[in-house]
């Protein structure tokens, strides 16, 4: 079991509401900016993408790497974060 970051825990602890995309675990300033350029300016939009991919973590990881230039670690962290969020709140 991998350890989770504080950011991860913070995100998964409550409904994401209107949080920006940089609140996602693994998404920092640079990646956040890139995602925003693509139109994913809020965390829930990225969640939407995750759901579109039927919550498939590998696919989402691939997509995130393509879209934002994230590396494997960041994308995996983000997808894990979203998975857990969905488990908790969906």
């Amino acid at each position: 079991m991998s350890t989770t970051s504080q950011k991860h825990r913070d995100f998964v602890a409550e409904p994401m509401g209107d949080k920006p995309v940089t609140a996602l675990s693994g998404i920092g300033e640079v990646l956040g900016k890139k995602l925003e350029e693509q139109g994913f300016d809020k965390a829930f939009v990225v969640l939407g993408q995750f759901l579109l991919l039927r919550k498939d973590r590998e696919l989402f990881t691939e997509w995130l790497k393509d879209t934002s230039g994230a590396n494997a670690r960041q994308a995996a962290s983000c997808s894990q974060c979203l998975t857990e969020w969905c488990d908790a709140f969906l």
Partner: protein, 902 residues
């Protein structure tokens, strides 16, 4: 047939057929699904190929797999065709290979579009190392491309086993090459280039931070072209042979992936690059068109120099699905065999062609198939290039070019040219990406550092400045005081005097000096006396002034000569007035002194005080003045406070009054409605009865004033209520009658505001901490500070929280942060357990249309923020038991029923 031509439905069905359930295919998900499709197809081929075997059977397996590929779709077909072609090329000789290569070209596009996943590069690299047995990993990597050609063609996507088979084929082929003389030459070349490569690799590796697939792709294309031109011009067939497969493979994006992976310095970099490469692929696919257009445009200005570009462009275009270019490209390549273009990547990216031409010329004589020299020259140029390149990583280029050394030196420049351009946007982004996470970390640390050191130095700086200022002012004061208290010695020659020119003319010098010194002495003596008098202790009686005789005595004591001159000097003083600082007092104080004989006493107007005395006096004066000022300010301030307090009281009372008025109106209205339904009730309500129902008994005395104001207000301002007298139960009462006929607008009861509306999600282990951590909570999103009106809405919030946690009587302090954008409320409980209960009750509930969230706060921080909470120990209770904030559905009926009397 490119995968790009697959429609969404086809993609969907393909994926389904391969056993994977895809979600909707949108513009965002499309590339992901394309990748997935490719991966699945490769896996399929892998599975089928793996069963066939390697090495000698490689070609057959390749052909079979190629057939499989063709069956499975256009995308995979090209790749599979390549190994077969490659093998044929090796065996058959370059020309045949070239044609095959050209033939392969059309097939390739389909593969490129699908892209390659990271697994390919992952898998290939270790085998690469293992299989190659070259000195140094770099060498292995650099020779990787040489061996790679076969691999990518065989692959149509990612797959470890997939790679293995090409590698096996390559090895087999290599051994085949080795057997022949040409292969020996190749091996020799390889050795010679080894040293060069390692050198260039060393420089290149540092630059190499992540290659885009495009770059390696371009390079491979270049290599391919180079190979072909090489083949046309060079004599070493074996090289060409080996190059041909390489070229073939190079044309495939997978080989680029592989190349990129090979060239990474470390495993981490590799992975990153692979991932980056994957991303690059997507980018590249999207942007390739753009690049090709760009490179085409760049090419046109100097076709001679940029001959390769069109080739490369064609490569790209070919890859993207065009066919038939191969013939043209081959001819062009022939032309380029003679054209040695060496362009500096930086320049290329900037679009300057001229220099390239110059370089070309310089390079052309050098460019020769002769590996060693050419390698050196190109290596040098490559090295310089790499050193010159700033934002591009040319690690791949040197390696690639050095690998070309073994074959031809010509093409390296071209490669770098290409890779430069292609790298331009890919590299920058990769470079940017890699530093990005480091940057983030650095920034964090820098910020911390700055804040730490800054705070430290700022604190000391401010202290230092403060002390300096204080010292300065103290010194200034001392200097000032000292100046005031100057005294002159006896021996001072008096040069200036206030007596005017007359004096000078009347007396001689000596006499004048005498007179002046006399006066000076007198003055000083008097000043001393006055000073003593002023600074005296109150016990000692002293006279401030000196009598005439005493003065005369003193002067005589000082100097015998003075006696004569006393009168004269005093006359002069009388003439000049009080300028000399000596005041002459006549016997009668009120009278002015006319003559020397009138003088009874002398006094100094400039008393000379001791320094201490002076300082003390000054100090006291200052203190008194400051105190006065402070007192004045204090008075003003007190006044202001009082005014504010009064004003606030007024406001409060008015608000209460209005509140009461509204309640009365509500009551009356509801009573009226009740009367509509129930005809037994009287349509009016006695005023005292209303008051007693609205105001609690304990408050009646307090609210008396408010109530009276409300009643007065109603009678004056409310048109819907009429005050009349009725007889109820035998006594006369002043009653209110509601006049307004009930309309629908009255039914518009305000939306229940500030009520709890249910829970959004069940609290389980995932979205709440397993155990309550601290006794302090921060509740968010309970209100919107912008929307709130009035002064006391925070009390309603208090109420709401208390009512929601009515079962939990452990809440000791509630604080509403009125200014927070997030609507924060801070709650402190008796213990962590109580806080946990409150958490469960509050977290995730809907309040006033907003979803409330709760989190724990540290106790010490809470106390820092709310020191008044330190002493709170008594649990708070909701002030009204009527649970106003829980769903109030039946309020109306309850109130009406409660008022249903009389």
């Amino acid at each position: 047939m490119a995968a790009a031509q697959l429609t969404d439905e086809e993609l969907f069905s393909e994926l389904k057929r391969l056993g994977f359930t895809p979600g909707p295919v949108t513009e965002n998900t499309r590339p992901v699904y394309l990748k997935k499709l490719k991966k699945l197809r490769e896996e399929q081929q892998q599975r089928s190929r793996g069963t066939k075997g390697r090495g000698g059977g490689g070609s057959s397996s390749v052909s079979s797999s190629s057939s499989i590929n063709n069956n499975s779709g256009g995308g995979g077909g090209g790749g599979n065709g390549h190994p077969a072609a490659g093998a044929a090329a090796v065996r058959a000789r370059p020309t045949g290979g070239r044609q095959l290569l050209n033939a392969k070209r059309p097939d390739r596009p389909g593969k490129f579009v699908l892209g390659f996943s990271s697994d390919e590069s992952d898998a290939e690299f270790p085998q690469h190392k293992a299989g190659l047995n070259h000195s140094g990993s770099k060498r292995e990597r650099s020779s990787g491309p040489g061996l790679q050609p076969l691999r990518p063609p065989q692959e149509s996507g990612a797959g470890v086993a997939h790679r293995k088979s090409p590698l096996g084929v390559l090895e087999g082929r290599k051994s085949g090459i080795g057997a022949s003389s040409s292969s020996t030459w190749w091996a020799d070349r390889g050795k010679s280039s080894l040293g060069l490569e390692s050198r260039s690799n060393l420089t290149g590796d540092k630059d190499y931070s992540g290659q885009g697939k495009e770059n390696s792709l371009e390079e491979e294309k270049e290599e391919e072209e180079e190979e072909e031109t090489e083949r046309s011009s060079s004599s070493s067939r074996a090289l060409n042979g080996s190059r041909a497969p390489y070229a073939l493979s190079s044309s495939t994006s997978s080989s680029t992936t592989k190349l990129a992976g090979d060239y990474s310095d470390t495993d981490e970099e590799e992975e990153e690059e692979e991932e980056e490469l994957e991303e690059r692929e997507r980018e590249r696919q999207r942007e390739r068109r753009l690049l090709s257009r760009r490179s085409i445009s760049k090419v046109t200005p100097s076709p001679a120099k940029r001959g390769r570009e069109p080739v490369v462009v064609e490569e790209e275009d070919g890859r993207s699905g065009r066919s038939g270019r191969s013939g043209r490209s081959s001819t062009e390549r022939d032309g380029f065999g003679l054209n040695r273009i060496y362009t500096k990547p930086a320049r290329f990216s900037s679009g300057i062609m001229g220099e390239n031409g110059g370089d070309m010329d310089s390079c052309s004589p050098r460019n020769h198939v002769d590996g060693g020299e050419g390698a050196t020259s190109t290596t040098n140029t490559t090295n310089t290039t790499s050193s010159r390149s700033s934002s591009f990583s040319f690690g791949l280029r040197p390696r690639l070019t050095s690998s070309y050394n073994s074959l031809s030196t010509t093409y390296r420049p071209n490669h770098s040219n290409h890779t430069g351009s292609n790298h331009s946007y890919g590299q920058a982004s990769t470079k940017r990406k890699q530093p990005a996470p480091e940057d983030e970390l650095l920034e964090q640390f820098r910020r911390e550092e700055v804040s730490g050191t800054g705070g430290f130095s700022a604190h000391y700086l401010s202290m230092f400045l403060l002390t300096a200022a204080c010292l300065f002012f103290v010194l200034l004061g001392l200097m000032y005081l000292r100046m005031r208290g100057t005294s002159s010695t006896d021996g001072v020659i008096i040069k200036s005097h206030p007596f005017g020119v007359e004096f000078d003319s009347t007396y001689s010098n000596i006499e004048r000096d005498l007179i002046l010194s006399l006066l000076l002495h007198l003055h000083n003596h008097l000043a001393d006396i006055a000073g003593d008098h002023d600074c005296r202790d109150l016990n000692l009686p002293l006279n401030r002034s000196l009598s005439f005789s005493e003065a005369a005595e003193y002067l005589k004591l000082r100097n015998k000569d003075y006696e004569d001159w006393i009168h004269i000097s005093l006359e002069w003083i009388i003439k000049s007035g009080e300028i000399a600082g000596i005041r002459l007092i006549a016997a009668d104080p009120g009278q002015a002194v006319e003559d020397v004989s009138d003088i009874s006493r002398l006094e100094s107007t400039h008393p000379r005080l001791s320094f201490v005395c002076r300082f003390r006096r000054a100090f006291f004066t200052v203190i008194y003045r400051v105190l006065l000022a402070l007192a004045g300010i204090g008075v003003v301030w007190g006044l202001m406070y009082y005014m504010k307090y009064r004003w606030r009281r007024e406001e409060e009372e008015t608000r209460q009054m209005y509140d009461m008025v509204e309640r009365i109106i509500d009551v009356l209205r509801s009573h009226n409605e009740a009367c509509q339904e129930n005809k037994d009730l009287q349509p009016y309500l006695p005023i005292p009865h209303v008051r007693d129902s609205l105001v609690q008994p304990q408050d009646r005395k307090k609210m008396k004033k408010v109530w009276n104001r409300a009643v007065a207000f109603l009678s004056a301002n409310e048109s819907r209520i009429r005050t009349e007298t009725q007889r109820i139960g035998g006594a006369d009462f002043l009653v209110w009658r509601w006049l307004q006929p009930s309309t629908s607008c009255d039914k518009m009861c305000s939306m229940p505001s500030k009520v709890w509306q249910g829970k959004a999600f069940p609290l389980d282990r995932r979205n709440s901490p397993p155990n309550s951590l601290t006794p302090c909570l921060k509740i968010r999103n309970m209100f919107d500070p912008v929307m709130e009106v009035g002064e006391n809405w925070h009390l309603a919030i208090h109420e709401a929280i208390l009512e929601k946690c009515c079962d939990n009587d452990g809440i000791v302090h509630i604080a509403v942060d009125k200014n927070s954008r997030e609507g924060c409320v801070y709650v402190k409980c008796l213990s962590a357990e109580h806080a946990g209960k409150a958490f469960k009750a509050l977290h995730g509930s809907w309040f006033d249309g907003k979803l409330v969230t709760v989190k724990y706060l540290r106790l010490d921080r809470y106390h820092q923020r709310f020191p008044q909470a330190l002493g709170c120990n008594t649990p708070l209770k909701a002030s009204s038991s009527s649970m106003n904030t829980m769903a109030r559905l039946h309020q109306r009926s309850s109130t009406s029923s409660s008022l249903g009397f009389s």
